[in-house]
């Protein structure tokens, strides 16, 4: 014989039902609010992400950069999108690598511009470090023999980097609404790592058409060269260059230096009218 049931007094039912529903509403609503807030918080890097896409798609900023060139950076971070892979995907230029500077000179952070130490032989450093990027013992055995297409293996061959240009490059968020990047070729004639300062180009990327500030490098206010709009990301790009002459307010240099030690390459801001 099967068991049969009927409901107890309906007021008990209603009370329980209302209590369950009330607690559910509170818990569900607050949980939705919390999850919404946490999810939104994760969008904090989105601007940097899209600005990087915009930077790496700019032919003006990257003019003169060729396949197999080497980028060296102070702020590059493999944990995010600022890497050689993403650069290749967006720009179509296959760099040998985008190095974080302390991979080449582990002592870089201790070796400031005021100290006696030098950062020598950038090309030799690069040539010696590239083979370290090979995948070595962990390469799957079955695929090992077919790895002739591995870019790093190719770039580790003797003479592979002889014609590569080495650039000093840094992309970073300068203010909460402006992402910037600078790029300059190394001057390999100098004893310590230096850039050809007059060849430096600078880009600022923002969501508004007018720049918030004029950038400076090593206290030299840069001159606005041109601007464009990136339709893919909806961001405005402003291109800046080193001026031919210094402004009267500059007290550090008497004239624009040809070369600049990479430790002195620091970005700053100037007022917008400073260098037109």
């Amino acid at each position: 014989m099967s068991k049969h049931y009927h409901l107890r007094g309906s007021y008990i039912n209603v009370n329980r039902m209302l209590l369950i529903s009330f607690y559910f509403f509170i818990a569900f609503f607050f949980t939705l609010v919390h999850n919404f807030a946490v999810a939104r918080e994760t969008n904090g890097r989105d601007f940097q992400y899209y600005a990087w896409q915009s930077l790496t798609r700019s032919e003006i900023f990257l003019s003169g950069v060729k396949e197999s060139d080497v980028f060296i950076s102070k702020y590059q971070n493999d944990a995010y999108e600022t890497n050689a892979g993403s650069f290749f995907w967006n720009s179509g230029i296959r760099l040998t690598y985008l190095f974080k500077i302390d991979l080449l000179w582990p002592e870089f952070n201790k070796c400031d511009a005021e100290s006696e130490c030098i950062l020598p032989n950038v090309r030799e450093k690069v040539k010696n470090t590239v083979p370290n990027l090979q995948r070595g013992a962990f390469v799957p055995v079955g695929r090992d023999k077919n790895r002739t297409d591995d870019w790093i293996n190719l770039k580790s061959l003797p003479g592979a980097l002889d014609n590569s240009r080495i650039w000093f490059f840094d992309p970073f968020l300068m203010t909460t609404t402006t992402f910037v990047g600078y790029l300059a070729p190394f001057d390999e004639t100098k004893e310590s790592a230096s850039i050809k300062f007059k060849d430096l180009r600078f880009i600022s990327i923002a969501s508004t058409p007018n720049p918030e500030f004029a950038p400076s490098i090593a206290s030299v206010c840069l001159k606005l060269q041109q601007a464009d709009f990136d339709t893919t990301t909806g961001l405005y790009r402003h291109y800046w260059e080193v001026p031919d002459t210094l402004t009267s307010t500059n007290k550090r240099y008497s004239s624009i230096p040809d070369a600049l030690d990479i430790r002195r390459v620091e970005a700053g801001t100037c007022s917008l009218g400073e260098n037109k």
Binding site: M1, S2, K3, H4, Y5, H6, L7, R8, I12, N13, R16, M17, I20, S21, F24, F25, A27, F28, F29, F30, T31, L32, V33, H34, N35, F36, A37, V38, A39, R40, E41, T42, N43, G44, R45, D46, Y49, D78, A79, Y80, E81, N83, A84, G85, S86, F87, F88, W89, R94, L95, R135, A137, F138, V139, P140, R143, D149, D150, W151, I152
Partner: protein, 439 residues
């Protein structure tokens, strides 16, 4: 579900619509919408945690090999698996495969988030399917889905819902599939079908364990699913004690069908803990297991983080506009309305049916509690053995296993709600048709 005694031809159109609306599929659909609402917040998130560097996979592959072909992506997965397997003694090849392919072919954020949401949603649906198979109660299953909608809480540090390449939802899917298949294996009418299903279940378990080690500790879920099947098939004498029944069941030929699953579990343990760990050449201190007094407190704190509202703060409202708050409140009101209608119109009748249907409820319930306890306790147990986590956990803070605990906690809440509603019912002495008791 709710039935009417009127003949079909006498129903007016309104009643016909209402009859259709109150059917079981409609309620499952509505509760699934509530669950989808809860999971949909994943779509609002960006790359999180390890997803940032891992989302760069296709670009690294393209740069290194000049081509983003499936063979190169597979090779990339193989590389990372080898690195972790030979270096750390950990084996989660399926995760590497899933994540490398996901990041390579779901390069836009929205498509990746869509799959991430889908996996979490599917895990919940499979969970309630498993729960229904074991409890034979639609009420219980729907309660579980409602409960799950309030236990799912995102975390600001390590979050398995919106980050880590849907690794934890993926193991949940595989474990629940294994549980459902194991259950079918035990209730199958012939041995061939039973063994085939058991082999499929063991394969699903193997995939789960090869996705993340937490699945190893979810073995009891599959064992319980299988065992409840035996209870349902053998329909034991209610006068025999549970323990005697357990011992007797272990000796039955049906238990042989569990052997493929058991062998898979043991083989994985021998391979990973008995071979890989012993031969790994660069085990990080993070992955060295141990035990101390702190292990106990770590374990105890980890029993609670998955309870509803443990991480909610009123400051969560700060970044939200009034419009957004109103939208979320409307969604909550809609979900609550569905629950109210469900409670008011459906479950009393449904409960009676499910209780009649499942005469072994008193034997099944303790096993369901055990299943929930395993889901809640296993991740905390794992953390309590890791020196890295000693003293770092709290009553609200956990690690990636928190998602597993949320499922277990939802089941506990559902058991509580079910018992609360059972008390609404009183056994009749008459032998009248139970459906008429609604009237």
């Amino acid at each position: 579900m709710a039935r009417t005694t009127q003949p079909k031809q006498n129903l007016n159109p309104l009643l016909r619509i209402s009859k259709y609306f109150w059917t079981l599929p409609a309620f499952y659909t509505l509760s699934a919408i509530v669950w989808l609402t809860a999971t949909s917040n994943v779509m609002r998130s960006s790359w999180v945690g390890d997803d940032w560097p891992n989302s760069q996979t296709p670009y690294w592959v393209f740069w290194r090999y000049g081509d983003l072909s499936p063979a190169n992506v597979f090779s990339e997965a193989q590389y990372w698996n080898n690195q972790w397997m030979l270096g750390q003694g950990r084996f989660y090849f399926i995760h590497w495969l899933e994540s490398r392919f996901a990041f390579s072919y779901l390069r836009s954020l929205w498509s990746y988030k869509l799959v991430e949401t889908g996996c979490l949603f599917l895990a919940g649906i499979l969970f309630i399917l498993l729960i229904y198979k074991l409890s034979k109660s639609h009420t219980f299953a729907i309660f579980t889905l409602f409960s799950l909608s309030v236990t799912i809480q995102f975390r600001k540090d390590f979050d398995p819902h919106i980050g880590f390449a849907f690794m934890v939802p993926s193991i949940m899917i595989k474990v629940f599939v294994a549980g459902i298949l194991a259950h079918y294996a035990s209730v199958a009418k012939n041995n061939l079908k039973g063994y085939t299903l058991s082999c499929l279940a063991s394969f699903s378990l193997l995939l789960a364990m090869s996705t993340y080690e937490y699945a190893f500790l979810m073995f009891p879920v599959i064992l319980i699913a299988f065992f409840i099947g035996i209870i349902q098939v053998s329909n034991p004498d209610p006068n025999v004690s549970f323990f005697r029944f357990l011992v007797k069941s272990l000796k039955t030929r049906l238990m042989f069908r569990f052997i493929p699953i058991f062998i898979t579990w043991i083989a994985y343990a021998i391979f990973v803990f008995g071979y890989l760990r012993l031969n790994a050449d660069a085990i990080s201190g993070v992955y060295v297991l141990g035990f101390s007094k702190t292990s106990l407190s770590t374990f105890i704190t980890q029993l609670f983080p998955a309870w509803p509202l443990t991480v909610f703060q009123f400051s969560d409202f700060e970044g939200l506009s009034y419009k957004e708050i109103a939208l979320l409140a409307s969604m909550s009101a809609f979900a609550t309305l569905i629950l109210i209608v469900f409670l008011a119109r459906i479950f009393p009748a449904n409960d009676m049916r499910s209780i009649n249907k499942n005469s072994n409820w008193n034997r099944v319930l303790p096993l369901l509690i055990l299943l929930a306890v395993d889901l809640v306790a296993a991740p905390g147990f794992m953390l309590s053995l890791q020196r890295e986590w000693w003293g770092r956990t709290s009553f609200t803070r956990g690690y990636l296993g928190i998602l597993i605990q949320e499922f277990g906690t939802a089941l506990i809440i559902s058991i509580f709600l079910n018992s609360l509603t059972q008390k609404n019912l009183r056994q009749r002495k008459s032998t009248r048709d139970p459906r008429s008791s609604r009237e």
